[in-house]
């Protein structure tokens, strides 16, 4: 039990903090924070697999998150028949052209010796392919984007239930990770960080500007939900009865019938939003728990030992006959796929897909801070990091505002310093996160809950 006392203490403090938000602000906010904490936890599990288990530095988390979000659109949105008729054929042809190009290049690389002619051949295939792509794609894209641009103007998805998209997100992100891994995994650590960051930027800019795919910066709104809608709950009798039972004491204090009715409807509205968020919390929590069990098992399995051996001494591991390139690629795909799930979960939670919001600050660096602060190589630590850092990220502004008001209370309301500080309260979150990261890196470099390896 003592072994786990640290973990239990840390998680209890976190839980108490979220409960305090529920009591002092509102339960709806507390649950929103909790949901995002859980999503961040999934992301940190993914990043921790790459960084903590294998020592691979992936600054492209933003790209995989965005692909997970894209998967939600591609899987769950109903197909736009008109758009498919208008330009679907061109897009399919383009897809096949790309496949043929890749096969041709692979063929050239495999069956011809390295020579000038092979290089020219590859260049010819690429340039010819791109020209062909442009010729076929342009009319198709124009036709698709012309189909009711205010509402659709894209191909839509497959119309499947939204939960499938979480798996779809994993596959999309894993696929990208395969390509990126093939390109970049041989690079030295800090080159790898920069390369993955820039590739993620390319991916996000493609998602942003290819409007036939997922409407780009015009956003997709009103995505399907795995939970009931608030408006349906508010009109269903069983839910109203439930709320009435829950609040019977408070309601019985009110004498007038109309007032009681008003109070009840207010309670129902509040409760419906809490209920929906609780549904999401349940879903996310189950994902986190499943992932945690699987990753913990993996960490202590022979595979986990192999990964640690590779991380700690590549040359020795390679001398023992481990295929480092293959293992690195595999773990890179695995971690990215988990990040893809998180991206899909997040878009499902929001109910809208906004490619413009994918920025490296929020989706790469903050996630990395979570992993470092929580504890690299320790899944409990990584999840805790997700909770702590997200909590700080959200609550830093209100806390800063409170402190500013406290310390400047002797100044008059119109004092320019006070006004300026109050206006800049939201930016204190960067300060808190930055100083937090620097402090942890300096005084507890292994994170709040450091990696503990015991051979079972």
């Amino acid at each position: 039990m003592r072994k786990y006392s640290n973990i239990i203490a840390a998680y209890s403090i976190m839980l108490v903090l979220i409960l305090l938000v529920g009591i002092f602000q509102s339960w709806s906010i507390a649950l929103t924070i909790l949901n995002y904490c859980l999503i961040s936890a999934v992301m940190t599990i993914g990043a921790n697999i790459q960084w903590g288990y294998a020592g691979l530095i992936n600054f492209g988390i933003m790209g995989y998150t965005a692909l997970g979000g894209l998967a939600v659109v591609l899987v769950s949105v109903d197909p736009v028949q008109q758009a498919w008729q208008a330009g679907g054929l061109n897009i399919l042809i383009c897809f096949w052209i790309i496949v043929v190009m890749v096969v041709l290049i692979r063929y050239l690389l495999k069956y011809f010796n390295k020579s000038k002619y092979r290089t020219y051949g590859i260049a010819f295939v690429i340039i010819g392919g791109i020209l062909l792509l442009r010729l076929t794609a342009t009319p198709g894209i124009e036709a698709i984007e012309a189909v009711d641009p205010a509402k659709t103007g894209f191909l839509g998805g497959m119309g499947l239930p939204v939960l499938f998209s979480w798996i779809g997100g994993a596959f999309l992100a894993g696929g990208l990770a395969f390509v990126v891994g093939k390109i970049a995994l041989g690079l030295r650590a800090d080159y790898l960080a920069i390369a993955t960051l820039l590739i993620a930027e390319i991916v996000v800019s493609i998602i942003k500007h290819e409007e036939w795919l997922a409407r780009g910066v015009k956003n997709v709104i009103g995505l399907k939900r795995p939970a009931p809608y608030e408006i349906d709950l508010q009109t269903s009798q069983w839910f109203i009865n439930l709320v009435e039972k829950f609040h019977s004491k408070k309601l019985s204090m009110i004498n007038s019938i109309t007032e009681r009715q008003d109070a009840l409807s207010q309670f129902v509205i509040d409760a419906s939003s809490v209920y929906v968020k609780l549904c999401f919390t349940g879903l996310f929590l189950s994902v986190v728990i499943v992932l945690l069990i699987v990753t913990q098992k993996a960490l202590y399995s022979p595979w986990g030992r192999k990964m640690r051996a590779i991380r700690d001494n590549e040359e020795a591991a390679s001398a023992m006959g481990k295929n480092i390139v293959k293992e690195h690629l595999f773990i890179f795909i695995l971690g990215s796929a988990i990040v893809g799930i998180a991206g899909a979960m997040m878009v499902t939670n929001d109910g809208l897909f906004t490619p413009g919001s994918y920025r490296p600050m929020r989706y790469t660096f903050v996630i990395w801070v979570m992993v470092i602060v929580g504890g690299t190589g320790n899944n409990f630590g990584a999840i805790l990091g997700g909770f702590v850092v997200w909590f700080l990220w959200v609550e830093a502004a209100p806390m800063a505002l409170f402190l500013i008001n406290l310390f400047t209370s002797h100044l008059p309301e119109t004092n320019s310093v006070r006004v300026h500080l109050i206006e800049s309260a939201p930016y204190f979150r960067f300060l808190v996160i930055g100083i937090g990261l620097l402090t942890i890196m300096r005084y507890r470099p292994k994170g709040i809950l450091p990696e503990k390896i015991e051979i079972k």
Binding site: Y191, I202, F365, S424, L431
Partner: protein, 336 residues
């Protein structure tokens, strides 16, 4: 005549802007590469450090304008450069003392340095946003154009105008001055040689009696000059917005790596490579081609290789290609 017109169009819309943008990137890229060569880490706070220096220039420009100090037809911001550089260097030395030096003495791996620089990035961003706010600011004053399109047309009688903004001219001239002084310093002076020795082989340099503290100090001083001047020139040419500066870190990194990270001359050229690639690939050649071919063959489309939305993506793709084909960059990297 049509041929000259075509050349003028191309110069006006691609070559001059690319030269100016390339100079700004080059200064940033040399900053990255210098830190990488001497202090041995990828500095993720690059964009924000440039932003920090520029912030002082913006604030001082406003102050100088309010007391009526100026340079006539030149922008007031040029007057603020020395003060901004001093503030920047002080901030960098402060950060180095409290953050980086600890890891340098411990000889931490470069990844740890990179993570620490992420922390510095967060803190710097917070300080900037708390002091000046996140909004867009223009601080250019004085004469806007050296050569206006209409004047050029009158002068030459061509159909196409050539404009030369004063900021573009200032950018190119200042960059050339700063970079040549820097190369002279690195290659000809004793301190510069000791810096190169330190970067080449740290242990050997220490054995020959080179003071590491002095090398680090000088590096930060040069870095501060480059970062501040690069940031101010970019801000004068476009505008000052903290978020944009943070994003500029990415093409700057691309430029540094394309040129061969750790090699200042490579970084200098890398800046121009990236800038020209971005602008040439996303430029619509319709008007250029219209002058060159007979009227019947005039193209209908914009003749654009990629839409301008992909401006950043172009430079990153170049980086990926370079990493694939020649990971050490166009010029061999690693030491200065």
């Amino acid at each position: 005549m049509d041929f000259i017109n075509a050349i003028v169009v191309l110069t006006n819309f691609t070559i001059i802007p690319a030269l100016a943008y390339g100079s700004q990137l080059a200064l940033g890229a040399i900053f990255v590469t210098l830190i990488y060569a001497v202090l041995r880490f990828a500095n993720f706070a690059t964009g924000d450090m440039m932003s920090f220096g520029t912030m002082f220039a913006v604030l001082l420009t406003y102050y100088f304008q309010s007391i009526g100090l100026g340079l006539g037809f030149l922008p007031t911001a040029l007057l603020t450069i020395p003060f901004a550089i001093i503030m920047m260097i002080l901030y960098m030395l402060l950060i180095d003392k409290f953050v980086f030096s600890y890891y340098r003495i411990k000889k931490s791996p470069p990844v740890q340095f990179a993570m620490v620089s992420v922390g510095v990035m967060f803190v710097t961003q917070a300080i900037i946003r708390i002091i000046i706010g996140p909004s867009d600011r223009r601080f250019l004053d004085g004469e806007k154009f050296i050569l206006k399109a209409t004047e050029f047309k009158e002068m030459t009688g061509l159909n196409e105008g050539l404009t030369l903004k004063s900021t573009q001219a200032i950018t190119i001239v200042v960059t050339l001055i700063i970079v040549s002084i820097m190369f002279w310093f690195l290659n000809k002076t004793k301190t510069g040689t000791s810096m190169r020795a330190y970067s080449d082989n740290e242990d050997l340099a220490l054995l020959s009696g080179i003071d590491p503290k002095r090398v680090v100090l000088i590096t930060w001083v040069i870095a501060g000059i480059l970062a501040t001047v690069g940031g101010i020139l970019y801000g004068l040419d476009k505008s000052y917005r903290p978020f944009v500066y943070f994003n500029n870190m990415l093409p700057i990194f691309a430029a540094a790596i394309v040129g061969g990270i750790g090699n200042p001359f490579g970084a200098f050229l890398g800046g121009y490579v990236i800038a020209f690639a971005e602008i040439l690939i996303t430029y619509a050649y319709k008007r250029f081609i219209a002058y060159l071919v007979p009227e019947s063959m005039e193209p209908d489309s914009l003749m654009q290789l990629l839409s301008t939305d992909y401006k950043f993506a172009v430079s990153f793709s170049i980086l990926v290609i370079v990493l694939l084909i020649r990971p050490s960059g166009i010029f061999k990297g690693k030491t200065i």
